[in-house]
């Protein structure tokens, strides 16, 4: 009796999970489907779209019109670079907040997060002017810096949460054993926090990869990453759904593959500390 209840319950849970999963994945699936259609068919009814012929013309056109590889490399440099730089700054910051908190640590954390509540458009002009004056417009260096700063509060918060799971006695033991502050962070804290650091790294690469607001506004051609590559197909000649979808598919493919292979690490990191 108990067994049959748990089986039917598992079935229901399974159906619900697959439904939710499908709904979440559906937009991506639809983009992929559209990318294999002719422009004329891509604006038809859903039924027409599914039944019309499957072609790769959109991909061919996109390849001819723009240099995918250049944008891809820009995306890699900007997302990986900004994340690594962010970790370099955030690890000591999170260490200080987690293991040597002061009276105002909570306030500092809240303040850092509050910068994420500010609309980005509000600081667009000053940042644009700073970039112009320092010659950072349309440079990878500039984008690495600005995207690192945009994601830094999230990196610090995530690491802070992971670090708090590490028993302080272990760090005290390292201190008794003669480790300097740097050695304590390098030999003890960082290796112990690897799962947390890895998931922070992955999540931030994804966030940086998909960041569109700053990349679109601060780049023109040289440093433009894949987000700008997608956007270039939405205007000004009107919308070309098939080509737009082909560009989008090509832009998300690398990050999707990376996410797929690292999902175990991602999930483990996101649920870090939930189960001892």
């Amino acid at each position: 009796m108990a067994r049959s209840i748990s089986t039917s319950r598992a079935t229901v849970t399974g159906v619900v999970a697959w439904t939710v999963g499908f709904l979440v994945f559906f937009p991506i699936l639809w983009i992929v489907i559209l990318s294999f259609k002719a422009e004329g068919d891509a604006i038809g009814t859903p039924w027409h779209i599914l039944t019309s012929p499957w072609i790769t013309e959109a991909y061919v056109t996109v390849q001819e019109r723009s240099d995918y590889f250049k944008h891809f490399m820009n995306s890699v440099v900007i997302s990986v670079g900004s994340t690594l730089l962010g970790l370099l700054i955030a690890i000591p910051a999170a260490w200080a907040m987690a293991f040597a908190p002061g009276k105002r640590t909570k306030d500092v954390l809240m303040w850092m997060l509050s910068t994420k509540m500010m609309p980005a458009a509000g600081v667009l002009v000053p940042i644009y002017l700073i970039f112009r004056d320092f010659g950072l417009l349309d440079t990878r260096t500039g984008l690495v810096a600005v995207i690192m700063l945009v994601n830094l509060p999230i990196i610090v918060w995530m690491l802070y949460t992971y670090f708090r799971e590490i028993p302080g006695e272990i760090l005290e033991a390292a201190r008794m054993d003669g480790a300097s502050l740097r050695e304590e962070i390098v030999y003890i804290l960082t290796p112990m926090a690897i799962p947390g650091i890895a998931s922070t790294l992955l999540l931030n690469i994804i966030l940086a990869w998909n960041e569109a607001f700053w990349t679109l506004r601060l780049t023109a051609a040289k440093a433009a990453p894949l987000t700008a590559f997608i956007a270039s197909y939405s205007s000004p000649e009107g919308l070309f759904y098939a080509k737009l979808s082909a560009a989008s598919t090509m832009a998300i493919a690398p990050i999707l593959v990376m996410g797929w292979f690292s999902q175990k690490q991602l999930v483990r990191g996101l649920t870090f500390g939930a189960v001892k």
């Binding site: 003669g178 003890i188 290796p191």
Partner: protein, 332 residues
Amino acid sequence: MGKITLNKVNKTFGSTEVIPGIDLEIEDGEFVVFVGPSGCGKSTLLRLIAGLEDVTSGTIVIDGTDVTDAAPARRGLAMVFQSYALYPHMTVRQNIAFPLKMAKAEKSVIDAKVNEAARVLNLTDYMERRPGQLSGGQRQRVAIGRAIVREPEAFLFDEPLSNLDAALRGTMRLEISELHNQLGTTMIYVTHDQIEAMTMADKIVVLNRGNIEQVGTPLELYRTPRNLFVAGFIGSPRMNFLTGEEARRRDAATVGIRPEHIDLSTTEGAWKGRVTVSEHLGSDTMLHAEVDGLGTITVRADGEVGAHHGDTVWLTPQTDKIHRFDDKGLAL
């Protein structure tokens, strides 16, 4: 050498004075136990000596050098933590070698010392395992190994056995005592367990609310407790305290008599009582008897005594073993 001197050491957290001011001398090679109920400041005192907490005022001197403001690693002390605090991502070998690696020792020196520590602690077969794959007792030994290789001036133990089961605790108690005999190094040991304190210590420091209540050898504390707190804390089961007429007859505010210093009879004696609970431990029987006008009296009787709930017993205190205290709780 490991002589440690505390001069008027005070520790205040915010507005809470945890340790009002302690003076203490710990001689080289001594095994000193800090004992007291939870929250008495014993762990804080140990952490102050270790340098993991800063003293608010006062000085700590180790072998004539003022280390009050020195970093933990500069004090030449090694510490074993309650949670063992092993590095989970390192093997046993790497754990034990870590302090030597931090001291930039030669590889050959590290290997020799680590292997020697492993031999002493019976860890040779587990060197390539990680802490997660070890039992509690083995983890404890790794933590001790990590402390030994540094050849410290003194070892600090912070309730090292409280996470172990009772049988293992007994074994580890012996091992630590043997280690002290072998190394002859000063050891400071914090515990709330008075059995650990009594069995291991050369000198016991009884702490209560951040103050030292008494310092002495285990038997001094047992025979001549300085006040009511020490009398009640040292000894198991606890000393019986009597007030009122019984105390006044002996010119005291309170008198105390240990359970093992009361003679038991079924026919005659000073106090007539009724057994409420009788605990048979095999070697001993603990009788809790309700005596009119005195309350519950605990008696340690022979293991063969077969008293049951409701039985009438006669109790007679051994008069030369009675402790007398004045109205301030100090021994007379």
